[in-house]
Amino acid sequence: MMKQLFDWLEHRTGARKVVNEALYENIPGGSRWRYVWGSTLTFTLAVQFITGIFLWMGYAPSATSAWESVHYIQEQMTGGWFLRGLHHWTAQVMTVLLVLHLMQVVIDGAYKAPREVNFWFGVLLLQLVLALSLTGYLLPWDQKGYWATKVATDILGSTPLVGSYLKELVLGGADYGHHTLTRFFALHAGVLPAAVIALTAGHIYLFRRHGITAKTPLKKRDEYFWPEQVLKDAVACLAVLATVLFFVVKYHGAHLDAPADPSSNYPARPDWYFLFLFQFLKYFPGHWEVLGAVVIPGIVMTLIFLMPILGKWKLGHRFNIGLLCAVLIGAGTLTISALREDKANVTYQASVKQAANDAIVVKDLAKTRGGIPPDGALVLLQGPKLFAQHCAGCHAYGGHNGLLAALSGPQSAPDLKGFATREYLTALLDPAQFKSAKFFGGTKHANGKMAKFLEENADALAGTNKVNLAKVIKAVSAEAGIQSQRPMDTRDATEIAEGKKQFEALGCTDCHSLGKWNPEDSTAPDLTGYGSRDWMMALLHDPSHERFYGKKNDRMPAFGKDQKLSRQQLERIVDWLRGE
């Protein structure tokens, strides 16, 4: 039955013949470990195709969704980090394998007649794979991909005569945006893979046509490809996969930086395999750059391309080996010096650290704030970024500057993490904490009326009035309408109503007002709507307004009134502080 089916298939398709031809290829001198490189490359290519197509199912190429969708794959989809890690690390390993393969071909002289055309196919494939790496690097639209690719496209833009047109074509416009991603993605997942498939097919066909370049002297009898060589190839592929898996697990997938931010001082660096070119450019000032970026690499590439022809001369083969060694040693040295320079560069190290912190902050925000707003993750990061820039000179946020870095100077105003929440107010109204650096210790309010009130009434507030104070706290905090507290606020409605009455009974109304601002007899900030978006916006607009601190305002700038920040910027800070 089976046999009949196979015979039928064979008659209609000739499949068996093809399989037999594939498997019973003669290997002069028998199977050897040194012949495995081509197969490992084919294997990595297959891995990239498979993982790439599955990643495609979750990827959305646009400036406001690329980072977001990759982040979703990485953090939310079960196993997504593993899939992305496989794709990323296989790409890295593939680059190494390509170099090894090239070295072997050159050293063994496998480029010589009649295999010249196949060598050229190989060199083209090498370039296609590098192009795949370059285009793939941008797709997550994170800081490192964005800035590195920007350098690459600026190099393209500096090409004489046609540069600016080329660049605009590649970017799909004058600047980076939606169409840059759609174009890079089409190249990465469509055009380049199609070319790779075509060339690989040709490469393998030609390889079969001329047979393996056997290493002489032949040590054993001839063997067929199947099964001896197949096993060796399979074991080698297994080793490659094991290496990839090691990195995938070690780094928990692939790193995803903070979303691309054209306003940040991120230090652009290409991925490690292009680092030598990056370093090379440092030696070509000004308009000499074209020499380092285009001319010299172009000459080297041309020489590599011409290897089969150069090899015909007497010393040609030696020249080729020499050239390859020179290029590899040169690239290696440049890579090492690039890494060394960066290691010694304090500013660079600080920027890298800050970028890593940004990534942690934005990922945490995406998780804790119930998703990313439609205008993208970068917007999420605006709140803490603006805070770090404009507020963290005096205030802290959870002990840091909002972006997990230390404050530049001593903290002189309250730590605003959890501002207006019940916990925040409970801590604030503890006399010891009120005067501590965490709250008003660094301001003149440390010796003000409020501090005195808390100290004088400390016993009562901690004893007989403890329950009432708790109600006041709930009432004042409820004014903020903080999203995460909403269920609690609804649940405690009666206590909140009582708290409003206690607000007066405890003497708060001597200075503050709650429910309705009473300019006549309030001498301290109005707590009507305390911590709400409107209240905070008004405070940031002008803290010296009599509704807030009036003349007692201690150094807090009028960000809105003095036009230090735009309304939208203030809103971003406020929304972030309020946990929205």
């Binding site: 498979i50 599955f54 969704s65 982040h71 794959i73 496989l86 099964p227 399979a234 119930g370 998703g371």
Partner: protein, 184 residues
């Protein structure tokens, strides 16, 4: 190498076996990882549902709906989560509201119970008509003619504060005689 012929063929069999096993395993890793991730939606079913406190939304007041008048279409606008994004006030569907008596309002989801097309209300004919496969529903939502397995899906309506019309917006499983709510 002075193995006996049978040892030789054993070795060969082993090599063949090992090649197949290793070859299969290394191919399986990327494939399995991919398929596993592609199945992710099944592990997150129900995510992205627009949620309001008790499911009821205020859509209109009684005065907006003329007594005995034609059904009126209201869009349902709600906060929505879609994979990585969260949206505020996004249109997520629509309902027909119709005041039948002084204090009674009925609501229908505009989605056709057959295969989910948007059902139109035809003023002239005074009926609901689905343009996809020509299902026809009376003003009360009952199926008149056509391939739909059931009448239009009515929604729970509550009258609050004597005049506010609150509707519990829901979707139902398509193409079943039974009306079963789905969480999407």
């Amino acid at each position: 190498m002075n193995d006996t012929p049978s040892e030789k063929s054993d070795r060969r069999e082993f090599i063949k076996c090992a090649s197949c096993v290793i070859g299969g395993a290394i191919g399986l890793v990327p494939m399995a990882a991919g398929v596993y991730v592609a199945m992710d939606p099944l592990r997150h079913s129900g995510d992205g549902t627009a949620k309001t406190n008790d499911g009821f939304m205020r859509l209109a007041t009684l005065e907006d709906l003329p007594l005995g008048g034609a059904p009126m279409k209201y869009s349902i606008v709600a906060d929505k989560a879609d994979k990585w994004s969260r949206y505020k006030d996004m249109p997520i569907g629509a309902v027909y509201l119709q005041r039948t008596t002084e204090k009674q309002v009925v609501a229908f989801n505009t989605v056709c119970p057959h295969l989910g097309c948007f059902v139109d209300y035809r003023k002239e004919e005074k009926d609901f008509f689905c343009p996809c496969h020509n299902s026809n529903f009376s003003q009360t939502g009952a199926l008149k003619t056509g391939v739909s397995p059931r009448g239009m899906d009515s929604l729970e309506v509550e009258l609050r504060n004597d005049r506010e019309v609150w509707v519990k917006f829901q979707h139902f499983k398509a193409n079943t005689t039974e009306k079963t709510p789905v969480n999407s």
